[in-house]
């Protein structure tokens, strides 16, 4: 993908702002939203399925209760008719036989007079037992004209029985006795198994005590012990019919069949019994399986989509952009041969961008190589110039010194007496030679600076000592023009500082010389003071001042205000250039504030380097 050196540049792109991080965040958010949506859908599906199951079970339990109520109501109605028939028929046995034929659930029919004597009886199996029975408490109920339903008797035949007593009234409405039907509740089996609840759901009936009266497996109804007691719901499920039927929500518990079931119940209206329905939870949740499959399908689709987006984004966008980034970094760090290579198939906008980038990189490489070559030539040219200048200065100063020396000898009369005219000419030679020497020295300094041969030498020095030295050295110029000259050293300055005394003096003497040169009245003042971590030296004069446009170039080499000023005031035009270069070499700077006709102020700012342990020989 990337040729040349690959450079990591993570620092340039924050982790939070990188495309990969942003992409990861968005994918994470999308994944989280998808996951939450799937979870919500699953929860909704589960609750929806359970609610559907609840509705089904509610309908089924109510339907079962109605079915059992109808069964019992029909039986009761038939028994009432049979009771009436016993008062009109000559043969109770025929009446009973017909009733037994109609109702397989009737195990025995008896007609008992008010005294408790069994007047007639017919059993489905066996012979009549025409005996007296003790007066039963329920007789009074029946005598009052009410139907009596006994508690469930489970001791006989191992199946639950219940006795239903019907009042038998004669044609005048007078109570003649009770028709007692012994009902085999196991016959409700066919009613129970007729209740359909899904594939494996089931219904069963209990009395109010939780005794199971009818269930598809009669072996469960019979607990099969010696006492032939019936199964009790609380023993099998830990529930009571009241709790199951009373719960408006769906009950989930271990059902009669031993499995985890959902169940609901409904109380019968004819007797205090309960129709309970249960469906294995696994079957009840079968409706949720398509939802699960749908959710899994949706999940696969979303994951595939996200994966596709990630793969596309990584390969088509992020990776090319990272390649571009790395390429740019490599070029920035100097690897001009760096190029971006993207797959040939990536012929989209990013591919075009990479192509443009490569073209740009090629041009940058060419231009940079041209600049490097030009720069090298320029540096070599400067070096040769400086070397030439230094050599030239040295070669010029040797004969010039000889000229000064001999002119001095002549002026001092050591070469014999000379007349005034000759003296004047020799003085001209001497003065011009000195100007030429100063010029050469300045040129030599410039050449040294540019050639990098000038080094700063910092030594401890007392500012006050410097001030005295500069005062002594420059006072003659002030006196010559009758100017005021003052050097003020701030008491805030450290007693000793580190400075290159020779170069600092070169700066200040140069500035003071200029000040005296361009000042005809008034005076010159040098101020030395600290300014934070800086040493500030201000040379203020009341001279001719500098016009604003000249402030831009007075520090350039060989530049004075104009030719007239050079002629009027002399100088090489290199002084301020040297001053500025020296300030820079000392890690400082120089600036000027000037008003034409009022004077100028040159402000030199240098790093203030106090001497912490004073050196006695440099004390003021």
């Amino acid at each position: 993908m990337i040729t040349g050196t690959k450079t990591s540049h993570a620092a340039a792109v924050g982790e939070s702002t990188s495309l990969i991080s942003q992409l990861s965040r968005r994918i994470n958010v999308l994944s989280a939203i998808t996951l939450i949506a799937l979870i919500l859908a699953a929860i909704t599906g589960i609750f929806g399925t359970l609610l559907l199951s609840k509705a089904t079970l509610q309908n089924t339990s109510a339907s079962a209760a109605r079915r059992f109520d109808l069964f019992l109501a029909s039986l009761e109605s038939d028994l009432k008719a049979t009771a009436s028939s016993t008062q009109t028929s000559q043969n109770d046995s025929d009446v009973f036989r017909a009733a037994l034929s109609r109702w397989p659930s009737i195990f025995e029919l008896s007609f008992i007079d008010p005294r408790g004597i069994v007047l007639a009886q017919r059993q489905r199996v066996g012979a009549a037992d025409l005996t007296s029975i003790p007066i039963q408490p329920w007789l009074s109920t029946v005598q009052a004209g009410n139907v009596y339903v006994s508690p469930v008797d489970s001791k006989e035949f191992g199946v639950p029985f219940v006795n239903i007593a019907i009042p038998a009234l004669d044609t005048t409405g007078k109570f003649q006795g009770s028709l007692v039907a012994k009902i085999d509740l196991s016959s409700l089996w066919s009613e129970v198994v007729a209740v359909q609840i899904g594939q494996t759901g089931y219904a069963y009936i209990t009395d109010e005590n939780g005794e199971i009266l009818a269930y598809r497996d009669l072996h469960v109804v019979q607990t099969q012990n010696n006492a032939q007691t019936m199964a009790v719901l609380s023993d099998l499920t830990g529930n009571t019919p009241q709790t199951i039927a009373g719960n408006a929500l769906l009950n989930v518990y271990r059902g009669v069949n031993g499995q985890l079931v959902v169940g609901l119940g409904y109380q019968l209206s004819t007797v205090p019994w309960y129709a309970l329905v249960e469906q294995p939870l696994s079957e009840a949740m079968q409706g949720f399986f398509p939802i699960i499959i749908g959710l899994i399908g949706a999940f696969v689709v979303v994951v595939s989509l996200v994966y596709s987006i990630i793969r596309f984004t990584r390969s088509k966008i992020v990776t090319p952009i990272l390649a571009l980034r790395d390429g740019a970094n490599a070029i920035r760090q100097g690897n001009l041969e760096q190029r971006i290579e993207l797959p040939s198939t990536n012929s989209n906008e990013i591919g075009a961008l990479a192509e443009a980038f490569n073209e740009m990189a090629a041009r940058v490489e060419i231009r940079t190589r041209e600049l490097v070559t030009a720069n090298a030539l320029a540096k070599e040219s400067t070096r040769l110039k400086s070397e030439f200048m230094a050599t030239m200065s040295h070669e010029l100063r040797t004969p010039l010194n000889a000229m000064l020396g001999f002119s001095g000898i002549l002026l001092e009369g050591m070469g014999g007496e000379i007349d005034d005219e000759a003296t004047h000419m020799i003085e001209r030679i001497d003065s011009n030679s000195r100007r030429l020497l100063n010029l050469i020295n300045d040129v030599l300094d410039i050449a040294k600076i540019e050639a990098g041969r000038m080094e700063m030498i910092y030594t401890p020095v007392a500012p006050s000592a410097l001030a005295r030295q500069w005062k002594n050295q420059m006072s003659v110029l002030a006196e010559r023009k009758d100017l005021d000259f003052e050097i003020v050293v701030s008491e805030s300055l450290p007693p000793q500082i580190y400075a290159d005394q020779e170069r600092l003096s070169q700066i200040i003497i140069n500035l003071l010389s200029n000040a005296f040169k361009f000042t005809e009245k008034g005076g010159v003042r040098l101020t030395m003071r600290p300014d934070g971590v800086s040493l500030v030296l201000e040379v203020k004069d009341t001279g001719i001042g500098i016009p604003p446009h000249a402030l831009n170039y007075i520090f350039d080499e060989f530049r004075q205000l104009d030719g007239s000023s050079r002629r009027a005031y002399g100088g090489s035009g290199l002084g301020l250039a040297i001053v500025r270069n020296l300030c820079r070499m000392m890690d400082g700077n120089i600036r000027v504030v000037s008003v034409v006709g009022e004077g100028s102020t040159f402000i030199v700012t240098l790093p203030l380097k106090p001497v912490t342990e004073l050196v006695p020989e440099y004390a003021a």
């Binding site: 659930s105 066996g126 196991s186």
Partner: protein, 395 residues
């Protein structure tokens, strides 16, 4: 790349698991078996087994393309009861333990069927009986807990190819009327079946304009000869056209002997319990008495002509009672296996509910919602020369 590999792995694993589950769900046994439980230690049981084998042989040992084999269980105790309930239970449990057994034919008697039906129901194995006629096996009102006690799963698995005893008693009223009798004396012994049959006959006699001129119930097995004679004389004194005596306690010969002794010309109609009793010692005395029989002799049905011919060709004798229903039972099992979505126990049981109308050697019929045959046709038999001989088909 790792994620891609995981996804591919999960996808591949899902496909593999689905394929495996799919393969497992559609795997079928190479051979399915039908358990046949008859008292093969006695001739009637062997004849019933012969009929089943004939049906399988005629189907080339297959139900459609599925090979079928028989697992013959013998519930006859050579040293005791030829129709042992204990042996029926133990052999049935062995059959249930064999997962390749998908259907079951037998046992021969109602007692054996009462004991085995709950076991087979719990195992969801289809059970067909060619001979057990106790009505409580399929219908309520005959004994407490019936019929639910035989169906612990709540699903019917029991199918009967003979009319139940209640149908026999009901049909007996028709036969009595067809023979021109009006006044009937009803005698029952103390067995449950006898009481039920007597009660049903009595309850339905009026529909045939029969008059019950007397009825009696006696524990014949323990009754003294004087008790029997007293009852017989009492019956004879009423001068009935016919005596209906549904013998059910295997001691009916005592009552029959007492009745014929009291009146040698007394017309007596029994039910098929009497056919299993040894009457040879009183054959002359009892000559001409009638009985109903839930089985149909093959030579009485035009639809069974092929069966009669094939059975005789195979075994060189006339097929005895219940051979025809045994033969048809096997044909039905083969049809159910063939029609099942999967030849499993559950598949065959579900298939039984979809048989619809059946046309075979018994004629055209179907199973009702209780699993009983819709046929109400029974045989009318008469004792001639000491042998029970079919004289009529009654429905």
């Amino acid at each position: 790349m790792v994620r891609i590999s995981h996804m591919k792995f999960i996808l591949a694993a899902s496909i593999a698991i689905s394929t495996l589950l799919s393969a497992c769900s559609t795997t079928t046994p190479s051979v399915v078996r039908v358990a046949v439980n008859f008292p093969t230690g006695i001739s009637v049981g062997q004849d019933m087994l012969n009929a089943v084998q004939l049906a399988l042989k005629e189907a080339d040992g297959k139900a459609g393309n599925i090979p079928v084999e028989l697992t013959s269980l013998d519930s006859s105790d050579p040293n005791g009861n030829p129709v042992s309930v204990d042996l029926a239970v133990s052999t049935t449990k062995a059959a249930i333990a064999d997962p390749s057994v998908v259907a079951y034919i037998g046992p021969a008697t109602s007692d054996q069927t009462r004991a085995t039906a709950p076991l087979l129901n719990a195992a969801s194995i289809t059970q067909l009986t060619p001979s057990a006629s106790w009505p409580g096996l399929t219908k309520p009102g005959f004994s407490p807990g019936e019929p639910g006690i035989y169906y612990p799963t709540g699903q019917r698995h029991f199918f009967r190819l003979v009319p139940s005893d209640d149908v026999q008693a009901l049909t007996a009223t028709h036969w009595v009327k067809q023979m021109g009798f009006n006044n009937v004396y009803v005698i029952a012994d103390k067995s449950a079946s006898s009481g039920v049959l007597a009660g049903i006959f009595e309850a339905n006699a009026g529909d045939q304009s029969l008059t019950i001129i007397g009825k009696a119930q006696l524990d014949i097995a323990s009754a003294s000869p004087d008790d029997l004679k007293e009852l017989a004389d009492r019956v004879a004194a009423t001068n009935p056209d016919v005596v209906f005596f549904p013998s059910g306690d295997n001691h009916g010969d005592r009552m029959l002997e007492a009745l014929r002794t009291s009146d040698p010309k007394m017309t007596i109609i029994c039910t098929d319990g009497v056919t299993t009793e040894d009457l040879s010692s009183q054959a002359a005395l009892l000559e001409g008495i009638y009985t109903t029989d839930i089985s149909i002799q093959a030579d009485q049905l035009a639809s069974a002509a092929d069966f009669l011919k094939n059975y005789q060709a195979a075994y060189h004798k006339v097929p005895p009672p219940f051979a025809l229903t045994s033969y048809v039972a096997m044909q039905i099992v083969l049809q159910a296996i063939k029609q099942s979505d999967t030849p499993t126990r559950a598949g065959v049981l579900a298939s039984m509910g979809n048989l619809g109308s059946i046309t075979d050697s018994l004629g055209t019929w179907h199973f009702d919602t209780n699993g009983d045959t819709s046929l109400t046709r029974i045989s009318g038999m008469q004792l001639k020369n000491g042998q029970w001989t079919a004289v009529s088909v009654v429905s």
